[in-house]
Symmetry: C2
Subunit: 415 residues, 2 copies
């Protein structure tokens, strides 16, 4: 039998103690955690090598191997990340609103931690440190379930960071790592509604769907991004080409990269060859709708599947649309409500697109790649929410808090 | 086969049109809906009589029958409710935040509708009009599944309100009533994630659990309230007795009524007989912990089940605790995170209780009954959320909105 429920209970008990920590205590602890990572660099790399060797033997894909591997620079990056979090404004305890009712009751809405947050993520050891830092800063206990390929790295990181808390006589049980790498452990975790307040799945569509279908705990979905760039007939071509190119190629493997280009038919004949040339040079394969094929007959034809595929690769679907309305309709049908961008100098078209496109973030004359906690100025992020409940778009510290009302009276009762 | 998916698709299509309505258009329509209810009073009562007759024949409980029945006064109440909603501030389109990044991007966070909201509720026809009004005011389409005992009343209310929209050439498909009274229809509804953005279950614990376990759509839970009043050793007895009594008896059948009284042992001997006398006169049965029994030996002993029971009736469990810490620990174990109240003149005890009690609303020297949209000044409410995600406590108009980010640039791309 697993001791998962025991871990969740320990996290919950620790969350009550965490809730009492001051900003100063939390920041000091985050600094100590950063130092501990640097001081234990050799042990971390040794543990990570076990994972890397096993992953190589298994033959995992190169980008995954790259994400898995730790070195001096990356450990410094993790430590710097924790220091950055310590320097961010502490949102917990903020008074969000306060008002007095005619009967004299004063109602205060204050920001509070969630309590216990479970995070299910890929084999990326740096996420382990980030998630611990963000949750700790917001007085949340955290239950981590990282990808199985990173299990040795994660164990070592958690060991080092818990030790740093113990040294400061702080509740180290606030950090719980699920060591079972069985998929069943996730199913079990998702039942523990009594002890866990929120679950954030990160990773592939399959994992997110599995969590959604099985969780009794409230879920914030992250990350699936079938993002579009729509180039309007009133677009500035120079901006448009820069934006389309950046949205597709600057980092194709991430959720805020664009997957489909929509082009207004009035400009298609002039614009498409320009973008095609740049895309060829960047090694991007374009997949074309029938109207695009008339202009660029050498392209591969897009199939129905292309419109809903998140390539995460140097591939882009291209469709010519009659107008902004058809662009909006296409996005409604195929988008994942992550990020949509319009390139136009026409204020009216921009306003229409902003109002009618249902996405966490709508860009006007900017790359889709800006949907990001760092780029938004949040300092850090735990993921990018693609749902509308609670948190939308980049999730920083505020987004992993809840609120409660404190009502102060003087003996008031209801008539 | 049901046409539920067809209804959800129609609601979604209508939500895009609703999204374009101005505050003025919405308010005018809400007024017209109010007038339509008054103008069709006789038809509404006739339809309601079918429900009432069937319910009587089935022998449903009196309080349920009372909630089901419509009369002139209640229809006027429903119409007034719609007029009240029309006069409330429109939260949609509010700019929640705006800032400019060093690269010149301007990021605006604006309040937007959810899109399509499904509400599953009891056999209370007035909720049908309220839910339609609140959703319409926030540009949300609504899919309603009311209790089967109210089906004829609901059909007639929806018919009248849709007709009012048609007369104004507004998208009446934004209101969808599920006419199937089979429980399976709920299961089917909960799968329609592609077309419904949010589901709000109202009603018994069984329904809420069923929705939670089966929904692919994000859920906001409402209503289960095992609320406590803790009377501290520093309590003012006059306030304490008023508050305990009001929390229990002013309307025992609702979620914000108190179910357990916790009393500090230092004052138990003096306080309990006073509260017992008042409770006897109000017809309340007290169920006592062993320490309480020593003071009031005639009481029935509380069993373990009593501490977690939401009586919704003139019954109250009573427990003597050592101090505020034991009160907090008891609430952590048995509470439902709805409303908890402390009665004390000791500012430190109040602060401790407020900080460490995990509930949507913590009252200091006030009745638990104040956790309510009307009492909070929200003007109306769609339910009281007992979860931490997105919305906590009374849910007014703002709580049935989401937000999106609009990022305005001038050709920015990521380096």
């Amino acid at each position: 039998m697993s001791n998962l429920i025991e871990q969740a209970k320990q996290a919950q008990a620790a969350s009550y103690l965490l809730n009492l920590l001051t900003t100063e205590q939390k920041n000091k602890a985050l600094q100590a955690m950063a130092e501990a990572l640097r001081a234990n660099q050799n042990e971390l790399i040794r543990a990570n090598q076990l994972d890397v060797t096993a992953a190589k033997a298994k033959g995992i894909a190169k980008p995954l191997l790259d994400r898995l591997e730790l070195n001096d620079k990356r450990i410094k990056g993790m430590a710097d990340g924790l220091r950055d979090i310590s320097s961010l404004h502490d949102p917990v305890g903020e008074i969000l609103d306060v008002w007095t009712r005619p009967n004299g009751l004063t109602i205060k809405k204050i920001r509070v931690p969630f309590g216990v947050i479970a995070i299910i993520y890929e084999s990326r050891p740096n996420v382990t440190a980030d998630a611990i830092g963000l949750c700790f800063k917001t007085n949340n206990a955290v239950v981590l379930r990282g990808g199985s390929d990173a299990i040795n790295s994660n164990k070592e990181i958690v060991k080092v960071l818990k030790k740093a808390l113990v040294d400061l006589k702080l509740p180290a049980e606030a950090i719980q790592l699920i060591e079972s790498t069985e998929r069943e452990a996730i199913g079990e975790l998702l039942q523990l509604k009594q002890h866990i307040d929120l679950v954030i799945p990160r990773g592939g569509a399959g994992l997110i769907k599995m969590v959604e279908e099985n969780s009794l705990i409230p879920v914030i979905e992250t990350g699936t991004g079938n993002c579009h760039v729509y180039v309007d007939d009133e677009a500035d071509f120079t901006k448009a080409i820069k934006i389309v190119l950046n949205s597709k190629v600057q980092r194709p493997s991430v959720c805020n990269a664009a997957e489909t280009l929509l082009v207004h038919e009035q400009i298609a004949e002039n614009f498409l060859p320009l973008v095609y040339e740049k895309m060829c040079r960047a090694g991007v394969e374009l997949r074309a709708c029938p109207k695009t094929l008339k202009i660029l007959p050498d392209l591969k034809a897009a199939t129905e599947d292309d419109w809903s595929t998140e390539y995460l690769d140097l591939i882009m679907a291209v469709k010519v649309v009659n107008n902004v309305d058809e662009a909006i309709a296409h996005i409604r049908q195929y988008g994942t409500k992550h990020t949509e961008s319009i390139v136009t100098e026409d204020q009216k078209a921009a306003e229409k697109f902003c109002r009618e496109t249902d996405a966490s973030t709508v860009m006007v004359n900017a790359s889709t790649r800006f949907t990001d906690g760092g780029e938004f100025g949040f300092g850090a992020e735990i993921g990018i929410s693609t749902q509308k409940l609670h948190a939308r778009g980049p999730m920083g510290l505020r987004e992993i808090t809840s609120y409660k009302y404190i009502v102060e009276g003087n003996g008031q009762v209801r008539e």
